[in-house]
Symmetry: C2
Subunit: 141 residues, 2 copies
Amino acid sequence: MTEHCLWRFSRALHRAINDRQREDLLDEDVDWAIYGPIDMFPFLGARRGKAAVVEVITQIADNVRVHRFDREKIMLGADSAASMMRYTLTALDSNKPISLRLAHFAQFKAGLLVSIRVLVDTFDLVEQTLGHPIHLPKIAS
Amino acid sequence: MTEHCLWRFSRALHRAINDRQREDLLDEDVDWAIYGPIDMFPFLGARRGKAAVVEVITQIADNVRVHRFDREKIMLGADSAASMMRYTLTALDSNKPISLRLAHFAQFKAGLLVSIRVLVDTFDLVEQTLGHPIHLPKIAS
C-alpha cells in the first residue's frame, strides 16, 4: 500500500515553514483558504494558484515556527483527507508560544494539493497573540 | 445501501434545536465538545454522557435557531463523518442573524453518536454576537 498523499504534503509543508525548503507539493491551480481575521494576520485568507500559495507559505514561515502538532482526528479518502489538529507554534516577532487547534479538509490530484480549507479556533488565536484576554459579555441564558 | 448515520443525526439535532423534539440520537457515554469561549457562550465546551449532552442541546435551543446550513466539505467513513459547514442562525435574545463556519468530526456506534468535536471560527462568531468589530493590531510582517 502506498503512502497517503497527506503524509507527504504534511512533511513538505512543515519543512517549507520551518526550514524554507521548497518541494513540489502544489497543483498549478491550487485553491487555498485559511479562515480568520486577515486584518491582524495578513497570511490568512484565500489564495488561488501555485505562485500565490508559495508566497503565502513564505509569509507564514516569516511569522511562525512549528514546534509540534498532534492529529486528534483524521479521515482519509482516496485523494482527500480531513484532520483536526493541535499545533504548538512560536510567533517569531514576539517569541511567544501559541497553541492552536485547527481543522483542514484537503483534496489531492496526482499527489499534489488541489484544494485546502482550514478552520482555526480564531478567538483563542487572537487572545494568545495579543497576550491578554478580551473581555466578553456573557450572552446566553 | 442504508443511509449514513450522519444524515439521521443531523436531522435529529436540527429538530432538537428548532422544534425541541427529542429523539434517540446519543450513546449513553457520548463524548461531546464544541471549542470556543465558554465565558461568553456557556453552551460551548465539553460534556460527557447523554444527560449532559441533552441538557446542552436544550441550552443551545434556548439561544439559537437554525435557518440554513450548507455542507461545504464532507468525508464519510463506515461509522464516522467529518464536515465543514456554514450555518445561518438567529441569536434568540437579540434576534440578530449570525453566519457561522464550523468543522465537526463525529463517531457513531449502532447509529448513535459516541463522540463529536466541533471547531468554530470563533473570532467571527464573537464579533457578530457583539455586533461590532474588535480592533486588532496587525501583527504580521
